[in-house]
């Protein structure tokens, strides 16, 4: 799996990496592969009936099986299998009609059985690919699309959580998470910088969320990313790789990978060597540090899980006629019901609304934003191309400023549509529209029209009135100072008599003499 690496070299990263004095040397090629654990969104765990829930009281979601009581047996959760099949299909994998479960052994306090049930030999899905796009040099207008190969997706159990209390020298164990279904997605080392890794993971995250196979919230541990990083010179074999763990946001993923690439290059250029080790990303310091490896190299002593028969999946062709449909999983049936994936959604948005491709990315990057946009478009006469500006520049930046999700927006799509309709019908100016929007953010339940009326923001449409003003201006320009009073009168009317006539007069004189 060494093909095509040079084609993936990130612009900038190699140049940045090599100090000027080293420029005579061949450039370094960084290689990045990812192992991603996505928690399956399901009501119950992979092999037991316990509920799956984030932040429940410790050890409140633990069945006898989860605690590995002697004599308990795993029973495969159909929902988890379907989620993995969906994900596999969405990532262009071949779905194995027969996959197997294995035991991976190691002793750890939060692994009660002493082994994890996983799919080491024959995973449920293999040989897929994921296309993702990223912008070059931070310019939204220069986007490139890349592909990373997906080696496999395997079903496996999550572990519990250990809490080490060093002062009392005890370990507390919470088994709520023990046995929750995971999909391990293994991405081939086809990436070469933090940005690529981040973009690939972001795209995967969107796909998982679209499928509903995982909530994929990194902060809640539903998506965990480990990065394998190495560097080498062109034409040479891959360098020794390190594994970077403890990355809990996409932003940190980019930072961690870039730091690690940089570190390895510097290490090698200073005559050092890279150890095949596991390193943790320290988000505060922005660097990776070696993890304390207590036991050295582990031999996991893999063994087939004897309590689970092979996982057999069917397609329309192989589906046995007399089989109870509750007992079988039909790959074709799932395939037909896959929702539109983000890439397709983006294409459709560009095609249907004539917006720019980069805008379609932004629309999909925020949960619910594309739906919001489409809803606004449906309710206004304004062209989608214009609507997108309001969505991306005004709505989105406001939400970001206030750390709100689209769902939490105080301005609903119909309110925004109402506002844009006023603008489109030329009842207000775009400056006024922004003022109305600012008022709408307060979420006081007023409609745009009410705000316009209240604040007298409507455009002056009365022809007579406008003619009068224009005539007055013309008159003054030609030297007739008497009409100045007329203008003052108009200002007074506009301000409901609350303006200071002397000040208005001074202002008008100044403006007219300009």
């Amino acid at each position: 799996s060494s093909g095509g690496v040079s084609a993936h070299v990130c612009r900038g990263s190699t140049a940045r990496a090599a100090p000027a004095s080293m420029s005579v040397l061949a450039p370094w090629i960084p290689v990045v592969g990812l192992e991603i654990h996505a928690q399956i969104s399901s009501n119950s765990k992979l092999f037991s009936g316990s509920q799956v829930q984030f932040a429940a009281p410790p050890n409140s979601l633990v069945s006898f099986f989860d605690a590995s009581l002697p004599g308990t047996l795993p029973v495969l959760n159909r929902r988890c299998v379907e989620a993995a099949v969906m994900t596999g299909l969405a990532l262009n994998c071949s779905i194995n009609k027969k996959s197997l479960f294995d035991r991976k052994h190691y002793f750890y306090a939060d692994l009660p059985a002493g082994y994890q049930i996983t799919q080491q030999r024959v995973p449920i899905a293999v040989n897929g690919s994921l296309s993702y796009s990223l912008c070059i040099d931070n310019k939204m207008s220069q986007m490139v699309t890349k592909t990373v190969r997906i080696k496999q997706i395997q079903l496996e159990q999550d572990s519990g959580k250990s809490l080490h209390d060093d002062t009392r020298s005890q370990t507390l164990v919470d088994l709520n998470r023990a046995g929750v279904g995971l999909m391990e997605v293994v991405m081939e080392p086809d990436m070469c910088c933090g940005e690529e890794a981040a973009a690939a993971v972001r795209e995967l995250q969107l796909i998982l969320q679209t499928l509903g196979s995982s909530q994929a919230v990194m902060a809640e541990g539903q998506l965990r990313v480990d990065a394998n990083v190495s560097v080498h010179h062109p034409g040479e074999p891959y360098g020794v790789r390190t594994e970077v763990k403890n990355i809990n946001s996409i932003r940190f993923l980019a930072k961690a990978v870039d730091y690690e690439i940089q570190r390895q290059i510097e290490e090698l250029e200073n005559g050092g060597t890279i150890l095949n080790e596991t390193r943790a990303f320290d988000s505060k310091l922005g660097c990776t540090v070696p993890m304390r490896d207590k036991e050295g190299k582990q031999d996991y002593r893999f063994m087939p899980e004897p309590n689970l028969p092979p996982l057999i999946l069917y397609d329309a062709k192989s589906l046995p006629a007399n089989m109870n449909h509750q007992q079988v999983i039909n790959i074709d049936w799932i395939h037909e019901r896959l929702p539109d994936l983000p890439s397709v959604k983006r294409e459709k948005l560009v095609e249907q609304y004539g917006i720019l491709p980069e805008h379609s990315f932004t629309l999909l990057n925020e949960d619910g934003l594309a739906e919001f946009f489409e809803s606004v478009v449906k309710q206004t006469q304004m062209k989608p191309k214009k609507v997108i500006g309001w969505i991306l520049n005004d709505l989105l930046s406001y939400l970001k400023q206030h750390s709100l999700t689209v769902k939490e927006s105080p301005v609903s799509s119909s309110l925004l549509a109402d506002l844009l309709n006023l603008l489109e019908k030329k009842e207000i100016s775009s400056t006024a529209a922004k003022r109305v929007l600012a008022e709408l953010w307060k979420g006081e339940g007023k409609t745009p029209l009410e705000i316009v009326k209240e604040q007298k923001l409507e455009l002056l449409q009365d022809q007579k009135e406008l003619e009068q003003i224009c005539q007055a201006v013309m008159a003054i320009k030609t030297g007739n100072r008497k009409v100045l009073n007329k203008l003052i009168g108009l200002v007074q009317r506009k301000t409901q008599g609350r303006s200071n006539p002397v000040l208005v007069k001074q202002l008008l004189e100044k403006k007219l003499s300009e």
Binding site: G71, L73, T171
Partner: protein, 524 residues
Amino acid sequence: MLRASLRQVSAALKEGRVTPTELCQRCLALIKSTKFLNAYITVAEETALKQAEESEERYKRGQPLGILDGIPIAVKDNFNTAGIETTCASNMLKGYISPYNATVVQKLLDQGAVLLGKTNLDEFAMGSGSTDGVFGPVRNPWSYSKQYKEKSVPKSHSEDEESNWVITGGSSGGSAAAVSSFTCFAALGSDTGGSTRNPAAHCGVVGLKPTYGLISRHGLIPLVNSMDVPGILTRCVDDAAVLLGSLAGHDPKDSTTIQDDFKPFELPNLTDVSKLSIGIPKEYHVPGLSSEILALWSKAAELFKNAGAKVVEVSLPHTRYSIVCYHVLCTAEVASNMARFDGLEYGHRSDMKDSTESMYAATRREGFNDVVRGRILSGNYFLLKQNYEKYFVKAQKVRRLIANDFVKVFRSGVDILLTPTTLSDAAPYTQFIQEDNRTRSAQDDILTQAANMAGLPAINVPTALSERGLPVGLQFIGRSFQEKQLLTVAKWFEKQVQFPVIQLEEVKRHDSGVFQHQKSASFS
């Protein structure tokens, strides 16, 4: 009454000739006076009497739950029983009370059976003598029978019974001894390499190992998941069929059970065996097979032939690799299955507090005996990355070949295989413990374990008494899920051989209806 078959006693309960409470009390009394057998680890007197009382209520209302209602049974101590200690005869689980019932236990209770207690075994069912549990060895009731005592010549009078008592076989020796000594009407064992059939043969009872997947393993503390089957120990073949009917079928908690429902059956009385083809696998004529048993085996074959059955010699060429293959697969699974006993969630925990790792190590050293630790060590060795292909994968391939041997033989038209169950009759304890557990297990499993490799149903039928007055049994192996055919043939054979009833002083006393406990365990 205590010597009656399940069907007979069930009829007596129905007719009110005996009440469930009386029956339970008699069994409990007999358990007490046969305590020296060490068949039970836990006697659940209180709950048993309560269950009997409830059963009695049902009979009074005329609404018994079925044939098992009010029948005292015993369960091997490697099945989980809610509220009653489950120890696996190990320090690791001493005092462990499971919060749930094994599916088979639940099924028995749901049908009104009275659970008398938990029976003794080799630690974690690893053994073939029921001698290697933390609660001490089980003594074969036949050691105290009139038949044995008349034939065995004690070396000196003083060491009489102490040196002459024989083992039950194992690892379900407690269950076999319990059924054999009439302290219960049926018992559950488990069978991984012969652990039900072997002690059944030595104790003169019927021992059925059903087809893998026919009975749920949920709640059975595993030895080798891919071979373990709950076993059934009864007085006669008909009773085994009754138990099978009440236990078999799909269990949503065990993914390896059959999907279809199981239809309980009654066994017909076979009158014509002329359409039967009995296979005699020549590979079972192993070195170490006693001449006595060989003769009995031949006699049995003759019996079938004379009754008109076709008796053919067949070959199962890979049988000879079975022992070594089993050793690899068994220890590998043991290493894995035992990993959960780390002292954290349940069971024994060492006081060692230096680190989590040292606590694990001390816990496991203190909790497991040498046999268990030895198997864990070899199992982990076979599973090491560099050894996996060489040992584990190879053993799996051999296992397939062994299973295919059976498929071929059955495809050739053979209905049932007839083999010995054990190499000889039961050895005296003092002699048995001369050899180590591994050697003994390898020898004793040799005739039984291939059926586990292939997942086939097999049954021990008590056949005759040896020259020493001890039981000897023969084994019938059937086609997958063809228990009815297997048991029908076994029943016919059982009827032909008329195996003698054990003559125990203790039982006579208790079964006369007088409940006077005598502390002394001696027989006149």
